[in-house]
Symmetry: C2
C-alpha cells in the first residue's frame, strides 16, 4: 500500500515538524517522504528526535531543489490548502478523495506547503487537485504535522475499512447463568435479613436488583469479587 | 457544540504538546482543556508558542491534581489507548464513537495519557469506554497532539456532515459553446496551414483536438489565453 503514496513537504521550516510528519506517516503505513528546499539543514537532530520510531523514514527521505523533480515519480498530485485559492484547480471533497485513493495504478503525491504561508499559487499549479481538510471556519490553520496526520489517517481508513470495522470488540462478560446465580444468592441472603418485609416490596426490590446486576456487565473475575463482597457484608 | 466536549490530558510531559493540542482543539471548534498533574510548569512559554492562534485555550485551561476532579463536569468519559488493555472496559469502534457523540445531553470528556506510557489501568478505570484510533499494526504509538487532532477531527466531521459534503465545489469551467468556438477557430487555422492533408487524416485529427481541448476544463480567462496563444502561433 505505502509505495503508492508519497508525502511532499515544500519548504518546511522546522525540523520538529518534519520528524512529527515522519512519525505520523509510519503510524499509517507510509514511508515515501520528499522534501523540497527545506529551510533548515536536513536531516537534523530535531527531526530525528520528534520522529521517535520513524528514523527510517527520515533517513530515506529525499531532498529536492524544486517541485518538478520532487513530483516526478507520481502520476497524480493533490495539494493541501487551508483556504480557497484564486486558481483554476478543482477542489475535491473528502468523498472524492476517498474515491481517488482507491484507483488502480495510482502513484499519488500529497503536497503540503510551508508552515507559515502554505503552498503558493505557483506550487499549487503543479497539482491535479486541491484538498481542504474540513475545520472550524474560525481557525483553519492546521499545524503541518497535523495536516499530514489527518491525510495519512484518511487514506489508511479508506484502504482498511474492513479491518477497522472488525476492531470493535465487546467485553468478556460473564454468562447470564453465572450472573443469575449471584442474584439468587443475594436475594436469598436479603430475604434472611428481612429486607423484603412487608412482602409487597419484594417484587419491585427483586426487579431493581436484577436490573442493577445485569447492567453491570461484569466479567468472571469481577463476579467473584462481587460474590465475596456480598458474603462479607452478610457475615454476622 | 464545543461546550459538550472536553479534552483531558493526564500527566502531559511536554509543553509543546499541550500547545499543539490546544491548536488542534481550536481547529475543530473545541475549547475546554483539562490538565491533570502536568509534568512541567503550566502554562509555560513552549505551550504558548506551539498553540499559535489558540492562546485563549491555554489561558483558560484548568489544572487538576487528580482525574476524579478533572472528570467531574462530564457525564461520559472515553479514554484513548494505543493498545488493548487487560481491563474489563468496552473498546468501542469509530462507528460506535460516532453514535455516542450525537447523543443528547452529552458532556463527553476525552482522556489522553502521558506521551511515553499512555494511560494506566487505574486511569482507564475512570472511563466508560476505550477508543483505539486505527493505525498500522507495526507502529501504533501516536504523538499526543496527533491523537487529539484525530479525535477532534472525527467529532467535527461527525457533527458537521452536511456542511462538509457541501464543501466540494467544482471548477468555474467555460461553457461548452465557448470551448467549441475556440476549437472551430483552431481547426480553421490549421486547415489553412494544410495540417489536414491528406484529407483522410482530418477526421482523427479533429477528434484528437476536440478531446484535448474539452478535457482541459478551462475557465474563461484561460480560454482567452488559449485563444491568444493560437492567434500568436498562427501569425505569419
Amino acid at each position: 500500500m505505502s509505495s503508492k503514496f508519497g508525502i511532499i513537504l515544500v519548504k518546511p521550516q522546522l525540523g520538529e515538524n518534519i520528524g512529527a510528519c515522519a512519525r505520523a506517516m509510519k503510524n499509517f503505513g507510509f514511508s515515501k517522504l520528499h522534501i523540497v528546499e527545506p529551510k533548515i539543514n536536513f536531516p537534523n537532530h530535531k527531526a530525528k528526535a520528534t520522529s521517535v520510531g520513524a528514523y527510517d523514514i527520515i533517513n530515506k527521505a529525499k531532498v529536492f531543489n524544486n517541485i518538478q523533480d520532487a513530483i516526478e515519480p507520481f502520476n497524480l498530485v493533490i495539494s493541501l490548502s487551508a483556504r480557497r485559492r484564486d486558481i483554476n484547480k478543482k477542489n475535491i471533497s473528502l468523498k472524492e478523495f476517498q474515491k481517488i485513493i482507491k484507483r488502480r495504478n495510482l502513484n499519488l503525491g500529497l503536497m503540503f506547503g510551508p508552515e507559515a504561508s502554505g503552498l503558493s499559487n505557483k506550487d499549487l499549479s503543479f497539482s491535479n487537485y486541491i484538498l481542504q481538510i474540513p475545520t472550524s471556519s474560525k481557525f483553519k490553520s492546521l499545524n503541518l504535522s497535523h495536516s499530514v496526520t489527518l491525510v495519512c489517517y484518511e487514506i489508511f481508513k479508506g484502504l482498511n475499512k474492513k479491518q477497522i470495522s472488525k476492531k470493535s470488540f465487546g467485553l468478556k462478560i460473564s454468562s447470564k447463568s453465572k450472573i443469575s446465580s449471584i442474584v439468587s444468592h443475594l436475594i436469598n441472603l436479603l430475604e434472611k435479613k428481612d429486607l423484603f418485609i412487608p412482602n409487597e416490596k419484594k417484587h419491585s426490590m427483586i426487579l431493581n436488583i436484577n436490573n442493577l446486576i445485569h447492567r453491570l456487565e461484569p466479567n468472571d473475575k469481577e463476579l467473584r469479587i462481587l460474590a465475596s463482597i456480598i458474603s462479607s457484608l452478610s457475615k454476622k
